[in-house]
Amino acid sequence: MEIFSIKNAKKSFENNLDVLQDISISVAKGEVAAIIGPSGSGKSTLLRCATLLEKMDSGELYYSGEKAAWNNEEGKTVYANPEKLRQIKSKFGLVFQNFNLFPHYSVLKNITDAPISIQKRKKDEVIQEGLVLLEKMGLSDKADAYPFQLSGGQQQRVSIARALAMKPDILFFDEPTSALDPELTGEILRVIRSLAAEHMTMVIVTHEIEFARNVADRIIFIAGGVIVEEGNAESLISDPQNDRTKAFLNRLQR
């Protein structure tokens, strides 16, 4: 079953060339897709369009078959009404590069506030689930701590828990380890790996090629706003077909 798809996404910024030129991606339930590519390739913009933080100029967006955005007769993107978009927002979660935790909320409140006040779920249940999520993240003792008291890796795990607490069908990661010290990336990658083992549907924008190869089912290589190459994770890394993919992977390995 298709959880997420973006079709013919196009996006350009005023002062820039086309950041996205006709990109289509769809992700099936339980699939883990990694998006790699040089900086400025459009991969972050793609993720931002997928998570409704950025508007596409043209293109379609679906979550579990529900329309979030489609093209009008002139080929311009039209978005669903705010109420519909609000429903759709609870179908996906996004983990930011910089965590973006709410500093004035405790760890537990960071995780539980949106499910309680936005999704209107039962408070006791949400708190129970929040504590379970924290345990899973190895942060049971941090429920009452505030974000500034945590290391970067711990903050990122809280932000993953915050996204999971919304019970999304799919989780997006925007370079989840890029803001972390090298010795802290391991703990985040382990968490993502364990989510993959539970068949969480995920799309991960990352620079960690080895990690992508290990954890992803499929790798999508984006450069210059287009998908240059995509395919099975193992074979794309070990046997890239396209010259640009080869050049990119070579640069990384050097």
Binding site: T51, L52, L53, R86, K89, S90, F92, G93, L94, F96, N98, N100, L101, F102, P103, H104, D113, A114, S117, I118, Q119, Y146, P147, F148, R162, M166
Partner: protein
């Protein structure tokens, strides 16, 4: 005049000063937030209107504004001024003046908030008003407390400007005593009153700051 009579007169004046101070804060703090939001609005008319308003409020003396607010109704519209209006003219003039200063402080605080906070809230499904009230505003308040404290302390001293339209606040009383009794004592006493008032307010503001210290 004995010292105790003088002090009790000054004390009555102080009550008026405290009242001016309290009411001005009560009105100008929320009004300032509204002005700040208007100043940042996408509506060009609203934005420019508030920009001009802030510029005038900050660019002319408060005493002048006070006189305009007090005498304006008579000279502009021929409305006769009742004596009860005196006090409220002070509150009105002070509130709209301080709201302008507070608005710029709010705006500075709001604009200093990282975009990521808005985006995180948006992805989690918070509406714009929920994002502002739950996520942005509490953090803004913490950031702007030191600047607000500055203004609040200035306000205490500014209450003495009510003297210019003969509202009997503490400074007016002190001056009246000084000229009728040919003494400096009332000024010294008033000075001590103002200082103590300021000291108390500074302690209160510091404790608020401390209370918000639980996060960074």
């Amino acid at each position: 005049m004995s010292i105790s009579v003088m002090l009790s007169k000054l004390g009555e004046g102080m009550i008026t000063s405290v009242l001016i101070f309290t009411l001005t804060l009560l009105f100008s703090l929320p009004l300032g937030l509204i002005v700040a939001l208007a100043r940042m609005s996408k509506n060009i008319i609203l934005k420019n209107f508030t920009r001009i308003y802030i510029s005038i409020m900050r660019g002319t003396p408060l005493m002048l504004q006070l006189l305009v607010v007090y005498f304006g109704p008579y000279f502009l519209f021929g409305i006769s001024i009742s004596s009860g209006y005196r006090f409220w003219a002070v509150i009105l003039a002070f509130s709209i003046n301080y709201a302008a200063y507070f608005a710029e402080i709010y705006r500075g605080g709001i604009e200093s908030m990282p975009l990521g906070q808005y985006e995180a809230a948006r992805v989690l499904g918070y509406s714009e008003s929920q994002t502002f009230m739950k996520i942005i505003l509490p953090q803004v308040i913490k950031r702007i407390i030191p600047a607000i404290t500055n203004e609040v302390i200035t306000l205490i001293k500014d209450t003495s400007l009510a003297f210019s339209i003969a509202v009997t606040e503490m400074f007016t009383v002190a001056k009246a005593i000084a000229s009728s009794e040919k003494t400096m004592v009332s000024y010294v006493a008033a000075g001590i009153f103002y200082y103590v008032f300021n000291f108390v307010v500074a302690v209160v503001m510091e404790s608020i700051e401390k209370k918000l210290d639980y996060y960074r």
